[in-house]
Amino acid sequence: MPPLSKQQKFELLTATFALVEERGPTPLTEIAAHLGIDVGTLRDLIDPLLFLEYRTPTDIVDMSRAFLLDEAGVLRIDEGHWLRNLRSVPPSDDDALRLLLAAEVVAAEITSSPALTSARAKLAELLGAPVTVEATAPPEVRLAQQAILSGRSLRCRYLGHEDDTARDRELLGHLVFHRWGRWYLAATDATDATGPADAAGPGPGGPPEGEGDAGPATPAVKYFRFERMSQVRLGDLRYRPRDDVRPPEWFRIDRPTTRLRVRTVPTVIEYLTVPHVCSTLRDLGDGRVEAELVVVGDRMLDQMLVALGPTTEIVEPAELRERRRTWAAELAARIC
C-alpha cells in the first residue's frame, strides 16, 4: 500500500473514531475492512494515539482513556467522540438541511428534547430559510407502536385496496414507518396469513406504489396503510415482533399495466393525481399535447379515466372510451 498523505490519515482517523463511536467497541479487523485498508496500516495509524498525552506544570496528562485498544484487538472510545464534540465548523448546507429535516420530523412526530430544540434553532439560523416537512402521524400510529413494543396484536377494520371492502384484521406488527408521504405498518396478517395481499395501494395524490410482501426472505410481511384502518385497538394475541423488517425500497407490483395515448391540454397532465408514468409528450400545436401514460391496475385505470376529465381525448386503446363512458355514468348514479 502506498504511503498515506496527511489528509488521508486525517480522513481515516476521523472515520475510525466515528465507526467506533457509533458501533461501540469494534475489532480492528472490522474497522480495517470497513475502511478498505489492511489491519497493519490501521494499527500503524492509531498506535501513537493510544498513548496521547501532554504536560501540565505538575503532571503528565494521559489521554489514552479516550482511545483504548484491548489485547483482543478491539478498539473502544470511552469518553464519547471528543474530536467531534470539539468541531466548531458548522455543517455544510446539504448536511444542515438533512439534519434540520430529521430534527423537525422527529421532534414533531416521535420525540423531542431541549437539546434537539436548540440544535434545530441553530440549524434553522444557519440555513436562513423556513423548511418544513409534514409527516403528521394519525393516532393509530402511536397505538401500533405501543402494540409492537408490548408484543400484542393490533385489531382493526382494513379497507382492501382492490375490492374496496373492509374486513376485520388482526395484525402482528413489526415496524411502523413513513414513506412516500404516508404512514405504513409492516405486519404479519394473523387473520389470513395465506391469502392475497391487499394492503398498501395507491390513493389520490399518491406516488406510484403498490402492494406486496417483503420478498422471499420474509414472505408473511405485508404493508398496511394507516389511512385505510378504522376501529383500531389492541388485540389479545401475543407474539415476538421481528427486528429484521425494514421499510421497502419499492413495493412489488404484479398488477396488469395499461398504456394509453391521450390528447389534452398540458395542465391536465401536470395536475394528474393518479400514480402514473408519462412516457412521451408531444406538442400538437393547437394548445394540446399528445401523451402516453402508463397506469397500474384496474382501479387506478378507472380513476385515471376520471381524472383526465371530459376535455381529454382518448386516442388508444379505443375500448377505453367505452369504458370511460360506462364508468362515468355509473359514478354519476352512485355519487349524485
Partner: protein, 296 residues
C-alpha cells in the same frame, strides 16, 4: 514521556491540550507542554500555525488567537455534545433522500440505518431555493407554461410533494408553487437582499401543505353521505366534520374550494361517498360526470 513525532499525533495532542485549557494558552505554554512543539523558535511557530490549519481542515476544529491576551483557544463547538447526541438519534430514525450523499461526519450518524422510521425525499430544487431564500434573492422560472418572477419565502413538503411559498411579482398575495411543476432553468433575478420575508409564515405554510384548503373558488359547504368503513379515510382526506352517524352511513360536512377537482376526489371513493347537497353543487357534479360520459 514519549516524544511525539507524527503530525496527526501532535495535532490531536494539541487539540486535547487546548480543550483542557478553555481560558486559552500562549505559544510558549504549548511549546513547553505539548510534545512536538519544544523549542519555541520560528520553525516551531510555523509548525504550530500549519497544524492549526490542519486541525481546521482535517477535523473541523478551529483555534482562534486572541491578539490582546496573546492566547490561543478553541472556538466553541457548533453543536454541544447533547445537541449532537440528539441529532444523531434523530438522523438514525430518519433517512433523507435526494441530497448529495453524506456520511454526516460533522455529527456522526447511525451506521446501518436499522432504526429508520421516516423516509423523506428532497426535490432537487430544494437546495437551490433554500439558498435563494437565505440570500433574499428573487428567482425566475416557468410554471404552467408561464414565466414567473417570485420572491421565495419558505419551503414545505407534504404528501411527498415539495412546495415553495413565495410572492409572485408584481402581486402582493402569497402563493405556493409545486416544485415538480417548475420547468425550465431556474435563474436568479436582481441582487441578493432584494426583498424582506414576512414575519409569520406559519399560516401560509400550513395552507400550502393542507390539501383541504387548495383552490381559490368561493367556498361551498357540501353535505356528503359516507359508508361507515370509508368514513375515517374520507374525514381525513377532506377535513370533513361528522354531522350525523348511524350503522348504515354517516353524514359529513366539508368545504369545497376547488370545484374542478372535487368530482375526481369523490370518484376515488367509487360510490361509497354520495353527494347530498347543496343542490347547485350536486347539479354541477352530475353535469361534470355527464360530460365525461359523452367525452370523445
Amino acid at each position: 514521556m514519549t516524544p511525539a513525532r507524527r503530525p496527526e499525533e501532535r495535532i490531536l495532542a494539541l487539540a486535547a491540550y487546548l480543550h483542557a485549557h478553555p481560558q486559552g494558552v500562549t505559544r510558549s505554554e504549548i511549546a513547553e507542554d505539548v510534545p512536538g512543539y519544544e523549542g519555541g523558535d520560528e520553525a516551531t511557530r510555523r509548525m504550530l500555525h500549519r497544524d492549526l490549519g490542519d486541525l481546521l481542515q482535517g477535523f473541523g476544529i478551529e483555534v482562534v488567537f486572541d491578539d490582546t491576551a496573546g492566547r490561543y483557544r478553541l472556538r466553541p463547538p457548533f453543536f454541544t455534545p447533547a445537541e449532537r447526541e440528539a441529532l444523531i438519534a434523530a438522523t438514525a430514525l430518519m433517512r433523507v433522500e435526494g441530497l448529495r450523499s453524506s456520511d454526516l461526519d460533522p455529527i456522526g450518524a447511525a451506521v446501518d440505518g436499522e432504526q429508520v422510521q421516516v423516509i423523506v425525499r428532497v426535490h432537487e430544487l430544494v437546495p437551490v431555493l433554500r439558498a435563494a431564500i437565505a440570500a433574499r434573492q428573487a428567482v425566475r422560472f416557468t410554471y404552467h407554461g408561464t414565466v414567473r418572477e417570485v420572491e421565495p419565502f419558505a419551503l414545505a413538503c407534504a404528501w411527498d410533494r415539495w412546495y415553495l411559498i413565495a410572492r409572485q411579482r408584481p402581486e402582493t398575495d402569497l402563493r405556493r408553487f409545486r416544485l415538480d411543476r417548475i420547468t425550465g432553468n431556474l435563474t436568479e433575478v436582481g441582487e441578493p437582499g432584494g426583498f424582506t420575508v414576512p414575519g409569520d409564515l406559519s399560516v401560509a405554510i400550513g395552507h400550502a401543505v393542507d390539501p383541504n384548503v387548495w383552490g381559490e373558488d368561493p367556498p361551498v359547504e357540501a353535505l356528503v353521505a359516507v359508508a361507515p368503513d370509508h368514513l375515517e379515510r374520507f374525514r381525513r382526506d377532506f377535513a370533513a366534520t361528522i354531522t350525523d352517524c348511524d350503522a348504515q352511513r354517516s353524514e359529513v360536512r366539508l368545504t369545497v374550494r376547488h370545484r374542478a377537482s372535487f368530482p375526481v376526489r369523490l370518484a376515488a371513493y367509487r360510490g361509497h361517498a354520495r353527494l347530498l347537497g347543496p343542490e347547485e353543487l350536486v347539479a354541477e357534479v352530475r353535469a361534470w360526470f355527464g360530460a365525461l360520459a359523452e367525452a370523445p
